[in-house]
Amino acid sequence: MSPLAHLAAIPVLLPLAVGAFLLLFSEKRRGAKAALSVTTLTILLGVAIALVAMTLVPTAEGDPPVIVYPLGNWPAPFGIVLVVDRLSALMLLLNAVLGFGCLIFALARWHKMGPRFHTLYLMQVAGLNGAFLTGDLFNLFVFFEVLLAASYALLLHGSGTVRVRASLHYIPINLVASSLFLVGVALIYGVSGTLNMADLARVIPTLEPHDRMLLEGGAAVLGLAFLVKAGMWPLGFWLPTTYSAACAPVAALFAIMSKLGIYTVLRLSLLFFGEESGASAGFGAEWLLYGGLATIAFGGIGALASQSMPRLAGYCVIISSGTLLAAIGTGNSAVISGALFYLVSSTLAAAAFFLLIELIERGRDAGADVLAVTMEVFGDPEEDIEDEDAEVGIAIPGTIAVLGGAFLACTVLFAGLPPLSGFIAKFAILSAVINEAGGVSAVHWLYVFLLMLSGLAVLVAMTRTGIRALWAPQESEIPPVRAAELAPVLLFLFLCAGLTVFGGPVMEYMDVTAQVLYWPQEYARDVLGGQPAPATLPGGTEP
């Protein structure tokens, strides 16, 4: 094992260690804590970039490399492994960028709103990284719990009735989802005798029909747990309420939590039920497709009906989840490659939007949004007359101009309009769906239609909100915004612009990543170190 392979463990170990270490400091030494957190996130960003760079170099055989890190140095099916392939590296980088930006935002104000913010924040990052890296199902569960435990506390950060009330729903839903996770894991172990993902990819094609049924049942129960996280309709009702209750930097970090659900569904469905998995091939794909379509529709309607900006952002997250799930359901690697681009772009856009909302809302009364919608319906005669005379010739204040520009960029990103990356992502998905070999089925046309329609719905909803909040503000002050708070928003938006400018190379990376996902047996061989497939069935069917 090359010394560089140790980099694979750092995204988990470093934030865990630093997070625990920060507990030793008194809450008054916030400066030191902040400095340590920022240093940690900076290192994680460097490590993530290094890992992505390592996955770019093909191996001697010309395959994309898979870095396997055996914790405790036991070989793969028996020991626990961390696995870095192109998809994991991509998600790590996305998480590091997001974590870094949101932390900078939090340092301006939010980290003073409650105790132990930095520890919880680092634990959340560690849990996310671990879930992206782990190579076996039970550790996936453990990392899910680590990030969920941190997220319960982070949701409550800043306290207040709204947050406690949201937690009252969020925590039980996730506890029940975790129970489903365990039931799924136990069923899969009971049938196959292994929990290593790569080993499972090898064992599943050899299963007997009566065991296969149980395994598929287990996988379906497991999938439910991930789909709750991803927010698939009808499992995602909790999402807008929870995300809108959380404080801005936390909500922005949560944007990648729903993508974690998508990531696990993508990884596991292709590993377990890829084309090479015998009778189970394509299991659950239809459910993902139809579920995804329903989710897009639900998100679109929800976005139109939203009366407040945080809820609108929540529904945008749901739409992006639906788009991704349906893309996975199509089972076409070209669609998946577009979906991966969409995943990166929509996560950054959602995070930027959550941060932006908090900045905009600072200068407004609570309930201004509801009032605005009511006025839209019933009209306000005075307003029309006043506006014409009084506000002619008044320059737009600089802060509002920047906020408005950022809001516009978010709108363009979510609606999927040119010139930003949202357009390229949607275009990649749509062109792959339409150019499918053997004609486009009716359901796929429906997908195309819903994708367009959801873009329109978001455009309408966000334009309406934007006009009310920024263009025609009613007796609101200019929100006091610091440069450090604006910087992360602009960082995320510039990254989206960068994705557009470097669309070609990024898309190439996504293409190869998506293709690799369709070779589960290669992945299994890399992780298990080239061992031949078992002649007889391990575990399970023994007396």
Partner: protein
């Protein structure tokens, strides 16, 4: 033996689900606990039900797998119990905070 265990797990999980769907936070937390007991038993049983068999080999011996219980689910269940316990404790705190802030023990934070 399997039948008794299956019925036991079914009753635990069924009562748990019913309680989780009730409107009082105390019922919800008891329901969550019952579900997690049911699930823990389920994981344990997935290693096959065997009576009076050790999960580990004695030093220096070579064992026949048929004479041993599967140690994996036992290790998994231990982790699941610890995590489940911690999460229940955390929810208990939120429950108390909600009771204090909203003045009601309804899960929506207000009476219908």
């Amino acid at each position: 033996m399997e039948l008794i265990l299956a019925i036991g797990i079914g009753i635990l999980a069924g009562s748990g689900v019913w309680l989780v769907l009730r409107p009082r936070t105390y019922q919800v937390i008891i329901g969550l606990s019952l579900i997690s007991y049911g699930v823990n038993l389920f994981i344990f049983v997935m290693g096959r039900v065997r009576i009076g068999m050790p999960p580990i080999l004695k030093p220096g011996t070579v064992g026949d797998p048929a004479g041993f219980a599967d140690p994996m689910p036992q290790a998994l269940v231990l982790t699941a119990i610890v995590i489940g316990f911690a999460m229940t404790a955390l929810y208990l705190v939120v429950l108390l905070a909600a009771r204090g802030l909203t003045g009601t023990d309804h899960v929506d934070g207000r009476e219908e």
